[in-house]
Amino acid sequence: MTATTRAVLSTSNLVQPSRAAVMRHARDAYAGVPAVPVLEARLAAFHGAAHCVALCNGFWALVLAMRALAVPGRSDVLMPSLTYRRMADVAAWAGLRPRFCEVDPATLACSAATMRAALAPGVGLLLAVHPIVNTCDVAGLVALSQEAGLPLLFDSVESAFEAVEAGKVGSFGAAECFSLHASKLLNGYEGGYVTTQDPALAGRLAALRDGTADDGLDLRLNRFHAAMALAGLDDVQAQVRRNQARYALYRTLLAGLPGLRLVPFDDRHACSFKTILVELLPAWPLSRGATLARLNDQEMLARAYYDPPLHRKPMAYPHVPAQLPATDALAARFMLLPCGHHVGDADIRAVVRALAELAA
C-alpha cells in the first residue's frame, strides 16, 4: 500500500487497476470489441451464475429486477429499512410500495425471522439486502422464499466478492443485483448488473434493458464502463489482498482503543475486506455526530452507517409506514471509517490516532 494525500481519505473504494489493464480494455472497446457481452460472461463465471445482464447502473438494475420479478397484482416489496438511502426510490420506480422490516442486530441484515414478521398479503417480492460487512442469512431467506411462495431478490451490491456455505454470492434467489459504481468492489466508473440462474428471467431482463420489450427502456451499459470493469476483474484477487492488509492494520490498531468495536469480517468464506465498519460502544466518550464532525474536520471523511434509515425519511410516493425500534437503535451506533484503494498504512495510523485523541 502507498500512502497518499490526506485529501482523498474517504469511505469510497475508488479502486484503480493497473494503467496497462485499463488502457488495454479501453482500447479494445474503442476498436469495437464488444466489451459488454465479454464482461457479462466473466461476471457470470465469477459469481457462479448461469447468466449476467449488465445495465447502466446499479439503481436501474434494481428497478428492472424488481419490475421483472414482483408477483403481478401485488403492491409491495418487503425490504429492510437499514440500507441504501435511495432504495425506496428504486421501489417507487418499479411501481411498488416499500414495506420495511427490521434487521438482525447481530448481522445488521434482514433475516428470515425479520422478514417473516413483516409479511403481509400485498407483498409480491422479497428484497434481501446484504449488509456492508459480511452477508445476510442466504439459506434462511431462500427457505422463506420457498415457504411463502414469493420471489427473492438479493441486493448484493456490497457483497460482490463474498461467499456463504452454499457458494458464491450472485448465485442465489431468483436474481442478485450488483453495482459497478467507482465506490464498489469493481470500479466501472458507473454500471450495474443482475445475475440469475434462470434463462427465462435473463432473457426478460435483457429485453427490458435493450428496450426491445414493449415495457422496456434502453438502459444498456456503456462499453467504456464495461472495459473499466474488466480491468477491475483482472485485478480483483490482488485488490482483496490489499483490502485484507488494510483491515488487518485497522484491527490491530483499534484493538487498543476502548469504546469502539470493529465489525469483524467472517473469513470462514471468501470476503472482500473492503469496508471498515465500527460500532460506538457506551464507553465511547463522544456522540457519533461529534465523532464524525471531528474526523471530517481533519479531512477524514468517515460517515454514518445508513442513517437515517428509510422508514424515517419523508416519502412522496405510496409506502407502508413502519415502527422499527431495533433499526432506529442500530442506525445511531455505527460508522464507516476511511478505506479503499488510496488509503495507505500511514493514513490508517492517522485515522486511529485521531480517534485515540478523541477518546483521550
Binding site: V8, Q16, A26, N57, W93, E190, G211, L217, D218, N222
Partner: protein, 327 residues
Amino acid sequence: MMPAPRQDHRPSWPRVEAMIDGILARRYYTNHGPLAQALEARLAEAHAVPHAIAVTNPAIALIMAIEGLGLRGAVALSALAPRRCAQAIAWAGLAPVFCEVDRAGFTLTAATAGARLTPDVGAILAGPADARSDLAALAAVRGVAFIAEGAPWAGQGVGVLALPGQGDDAGAACLLTSDDALAARLRSIRSSYGASNPVPVARTANGRLSEAQAAMALLSLETAGAAASHAAAVRAAYRAGLPGARLLDLRSAIAIIPDTLGQAEALARLRGAGWPAQMPAPPDPRATSCPNAAAFSSRAVLLPVGPTITTAAATAMCGALMGRPGG
C-alpha cells in the same frame, strides 16, 4: 456494391488515452466530476441556454424531464416518434397519446397535435423533424409543458439531447433548459452528487454521467463539425441524385417516398445492389386513427446518413433507385 469505408470522425485513440490518463490521475470517476462539469458548461454555451444537465443516457434523461416537470396524466407525441419515447413516458407513470402526422411532411404539427390534446395531456413532446416552434407555441397557449426530444433546443420547457461519442450503444445525453427552478429539480433528481443547490424532489432517478462518458462527449464535440459537414454532404448528394423526389430529413437517415416505384421495389433495387436501406418502423399499435403515419411506414424507404456512408455511396444508391446500371 458494398458500403465504402467508414468516415471516421471519432476522436483519435491518443486523445482518448490522454483523457483516461487524466481521469486516473484525478481519481475522480463519476459523481459530477470535473469533466462532467466542463461538458455541461460547454453544452450550455454551445446551445445558448443557462442550464445543461448531463445524464447517463437519453431514456433516463426523458424520464427525468417528465419527473422534473411534475407531469401527470399523458404526453402527446407523434405516432412516428421513436419507440423509446413512449417507453420512457410509460416508465415515468404517464400515458402516451399518439398524434397523427401531417400528410405532406409526415411530421407532428400544431394542427395534428392540437386535435389530440385532451384535458389529461400535460405536455407535448416534439422530435427534431416535427414543427417544434409551432408546437411550443401551441403548448404555451394550451398551458401544457413542452419537451423537445432528439435535437438542441433553447426554447421553453426542456430539451433532451443525445450526446456523441459513446460508440453505437448506450449513449449519453443532456437536458437543456432556461428554467432555473426546473434545472435545480433535474440536478437533484439525477443524483444529490453535483446538485450544488439541492431541492426537494419526489424521487431520485440516478442519471449520473461518468467522467469517461463526459470525456468521450467532450472529445467528440471537437469533431462534431466535421461529422455534421459530412452528413450534410451526404444529404445533398441524395437530393442531387434524386431530382424531384419526395425526400424527408430524419435524424439519422433521409426518407424517400418512392411514389412511382413503390416501397417494395425500391427496397429490392437497393438491397439487390448491396445497400443497407430499411423500411421505417411501423407506428405504435396504440396509434389508432393515424392513416398518415401508417402511410409513411408502408411507403417510405430510409436511406442511411452517417459515418459509414460516403457521398459517392449516396450517389450510387440514387443510381440504384433510378435503375441505372452500376448503381
